[in-house]
Symmetry: D2
Subunit: 123 residues, 4 copies
């Protein structure tokens, strides 16, 4: 793969769409069904991490037999997330930028340093 | 936002990293914890879709009071997925491309048309 | 099995505890880890139902090849839920009774008939 | 509550059924929808535990402001799990007993002591 391969969300979304369309899977890909598929993939991530300590989870990519399944699951989550966004007509990347901007206000740096709870939950 | 804003996964990942680092949240962001955070956000997507019929789910973006929360949750899922990939050192987009290639073999078009189950599950 | 076998939550919780203790699995069964295990099992349920229409989901127990996996997953969810409640010191059944009582107030019959949203969300 | 209140799964299932029926919620309670509702509740449990260390998760019930929400979520998971089993016609407790028996074979004590992976995964 060249250096920038896989970096463009629009290209990835189009590739996922082609994969589904050529198999005539649109009939299964209602947003509701895709949310369930997404939940299933995240469940598999939970399975891979459930018995690891936080410290072990930091080193999970070092062992091939653990790292490869993790990478595969991350990929599956992105694939279903892109497909879901596509059928909903949502530009996933722009939505993320907007959310990050909103989060700047919800988690002001001075109040949030070292504390992952929302500003409004802190008092 | 300009047209290409939010399309580059590497830029998005860097923005998410900065957001976390400036708040000193690295201490909370073990892969294990981030998998749980991801599962929490996908759970919120499930909540938004649970009582909808598949047909209603197709039209969820048409109503502002339903569409905006859906968009926000999709964004949250991407944000945690990028953060998780970042702390694991996984290039999420390349992993997705590799998985799509592997899926071409697991779901050959001739066998998979109109059937979303794996080739090996079909016999 | 006799008619009442499996009906007593306290007995089931004790059986699950013995299963874990004799294998010395207490070391893995922190509440945090068990929540992840629970999320993994519910993810498998999502996988079993993701491509079914609501109508097909009504008939899933009629086909042995589909019904048995569903029953197994329901069992797994209960097993981890009981184990989690046990290590937390929560009486799961009493908690459910209390929650049902609270829900009587949150979802008054007159306002909730045919509408599954919370009373406070309706206005 | 008397000592045995909440201990009988059949009684709990009947109470959950009455709660739904008097509100005419059967129309929303397809197995597919209830699986999504279950996933949503487990997502809330993930939210409550995501930033806790395993050690902190052991003590979560000691603080009222943390313990009560955890207990409420455990209750919600059981309530939806009972409702799902009910509409599917599955006796949840008997299914759990059967699964525990099957697990005795899949996780033989001699091979599983101190190791939570399946016997077949160990070699």
């Amino acid at each position: 793969m060249d250096e920038k391969a896989g970096s463009d969300l629009d290209d990835l979304m189009a590739a996922v769409r082609r994969f589904a369309e050529v198999r005539d899977w649109g009939q299964f890909h209602s947003p509701k069904n895709l949310v369930m598929a997404l939940a299933g993939e995240v469940g598999e991530l939970c399975d891979l991490f459930r018995w690891l300590t936080p410290e072990q989870s930091q080193r999970v990519m070092e062992a091939t037999d653990e790292g490869r399944p993790v990478e595969d699951e991350l990929a599956d989550v992105l694939i279903y997330l892109l497909r879901l966004s596509d059928v909903l007509g949502v530009h996933l990347g722009k939505a993320a930028l907007r959310k990050l901007e909103a989060n700047e206000l919800r988690y002001p740096v001075a109040k949030s340093r070292g504390n992952p709870r929302k500003y409004t939950e802190l008092d």
